[in-house]
């Protein structure tokens, strides 16, 4: 199998803090990887490093067998920190349209093919009606679906989805996961999907990448989601309970994932206040 993302004793520092220290792992082509870990564990930072937006301080990070390159068109990205201007009355079609060759100089142009592609992708994520609606009238979940559709456009080989389930209701979470799984299985796209809740992804993910305490653990759920591994990553005593096909990661009687998830929802509408550093 070919490695799409390869870290070899890689250290990624940001603001004088090691987000990842001496981490080594490899993600293979076509894998669906669930990226989990406590808040601030470096999920966003890892994705930004893969995008070539951060230098790795030591060791090597390889993407498609070479150093990460900023502006790589084969990577689809759904960022977690989303600057949504409060009163932006741009319709969904133009919002996504802005990203299509948005890095080119000159006047914006949307060909009929571009439009058709946007409409078709919106249809696939169950968000067709958003193409004509202004962004300022969309709920957090609707914006999220818009962004997911955008990440899928343009035949990416690698999808970096940073918390794509935030502010989606249960039904749309299922739709979102389904759409990404389909892209992964049918088009062989490698997916890094970060989330707070492991359980929703259990039936879909191939392997799980847990981040925490500057360390990374990549493996199957059985290998990684265990009390010893997670205790080291969280830096606290973690218990893992399995019941009825679900996995609960508990710390002193609290479900850490659920707590983190609730915490995130508090910020859900003001997502732009999040700092990813």
């Amino acid at each position: 199998m070919t490695a799409i993302i390869e870290l070899d004793h890689a250290t990624i520092r940001i603001g004088g803090r090691n987000v990842l220290a001496d981490a080594s792992f490899a993600i293979n082509a076509g894998e669906f990887i669930g990226v989990l870990g406590p808040n601030g564990a470096g999920k966003t930072t890892l994705m930004r490093a893969i995008l070539g937006l951060l230098p790795s301080s030591a060791g090597t990070l390889r993407v498609f067998g070479r150093a990460p390159q900023r502006g790589d068109r084969t990577i689809g990205y759904l960022p977690q920190v989303r600057t949504v201007l409060p009163d932006l009355r741009v319709r969904g079609l133009d919002f996504i349209g802005s990203s299509i060759h948005g890095e080119r100089w000159g006047l914006p142009k949307l060909s009929h093919a571009d439009r058709a592609m946007i409409e078709a992708t919106l249809e696939a994520v169950g968000a067709h009606e958003l193409s004509q609606r202004p962004l300022s009238e969309m709920s957090g979940g609707e914006r999220q679906r818009l962004l997911l559709a955008q990440a899928l456009i343009g035949n990416p080989k690698l999808l970096l989805l940073d918390e794509p389930l935030i502010s989606l209701d249960a039904r749309h979470q299922e739709v979102a996961i389904g759409v990404v799984r389909k892209a992964c299985r049918e088009r062989g796209i490698t997916v890094l999907f970060s989330a707070h809740e492991l359980n929703q992804l259990l039936g879909t993910l191939d392997r799980v990448l847990y981040l925490g305490n500057g360390q990374a653990a990549l493996g199957t759920v059985e290998q990684v989601v265990t009390a010893p591994v997670l205790s080291a990553l969280y830096g606290t005593d973690i218990q893992v309970l399995r019941a009825d096909g679900h996995i609960f990661v508990m710390s002193r009687g609290h479900d850490v994932e659920r707590d983190a998830h609730m915490h995130d929802h508090d910020h859900g509408d003001g997502g732009h206040d999040h700092h990813h550093h």
Partner: protein
């Protein structure tokens, strides 16, 4: 009879060269202001635009001190300030307090320059509130040339500018040089502000650069329709403002400011009604 009367009222105005000049200058500047302002509103940087015009006031009065035409001082100061604000983008351009401090400092310097160049004081009102009726042919040519430069520069960066405005995180990942784009844009805003100040004065640049685009964004959500409507609104408000001023003897800038506010609140009311109706049916 009535049509004859209306026609004379209109043709009457064009008997004066200063009126023709006013219409030409206001027309050129309004279109540029409406278009550049559209992006200012989209990026939520209207306050930065306001600050640039105040900094321009210091430039204009400073130019008077050393014997230059105010327009060149205005241009020099706003351009320099725009580029500095863009270069410091993360730290300053969206920070209201920093901008507020800088703009009051600039106004203070403007006052200081006026203090030392007292014969210039008569022009202070014109700088602050504009004097479109005093525009001459040379100024029109200058404004036209500046407008072409402004719109050309804007059309060169428009695509990445929109991308970077709507989705900076993704634009950065896709290779858009965010800092360059925002600096170039603020330089373009500086050009537009300098032109706009010739018509409505530094204190009222909002009337042409923010009112029309904000109104346009309330009623349309498409990019090109929004840009077109913004330019058309700015143009009609500027021209209608001159017409009203001609017949009432009120200051032109007041008339334009009034129309700009009316246009914005009308658009706001229209879109609010539209939204609440849509919510009821949904």
């Amino acid at each position: 009879m009535e049509t004859v009367a209306t026609t004379t009222i209109i043709t009457d105005m064009f008997a004066y060269e200063f009126m023709n000049n006013a219409f030409a200058a206001a027309g050129i500047v309004a279109v540029v202001s409406g278009i550049v302002g559209y992006f200012l509103v989209m990026r939520g940087q209207t306050f930065a635009g306001h600050a640039l015009s105040h900094i321009g006031f210091a430039g204009a009065t400073g130019a008077g001190l050393i014997g230059l035409a105010p327009l060149w001082g205005l241009l020099g100061f706003t351009l320099a300030a725009g580029i500095v604000m863009g270069a410091l983008s993360d730290r300053i351009s969206n920070r209201d307090i920093a901008i507020g401090v800088v703009l009051s400092l600039a106004l203070g310097f403007g006052l200081l320059f006026l203090h030392y160049y007292t014969s210039f004081a008569t022009q202070a009102t014109a700088l602050l509130f504009g004097n479109v009726l005093a525009v001459d042919r040379t100024m029109i040519a200058t404004l036209a040339a500046l407008s072409i430069v402004t719109l050309l520069a804007l059309s060169l960066i428009m695509r990445p500018l929109i991308f970077a405005s709507l989705q900076p995180e993704l634009a950065e990942a896709k290779g858009v040089p965010l800092r360059f784009v925002s600096t170039a844009f603020l330089a373009i805003v500086a050009l537009a502000v300098s032109e706009c100040a010739q018509i409505v004065g530094v204190l009222l640049v909002f009337t042409l650069m923010v009112g029309p685009p904000a109104a346009a964004q309330r009623v349309t959500t498409g990019l090109w329709s929004g840009l077109g409507l913004s330019a058309a609104l700015a143009l009609s408000e500027a021209w209608l403002g001159i017409v009203i001023a001609y017949h009432t003897d009120w200051p032109v800038s007041f008339c334009i400011a009034m129309l700009s506010a009316l246009g914005y609140f009308a658009a706001l009311a229209a879109s609010t009604r539209h939204v609440s109706r849509a919510q009821r049916t949904a």
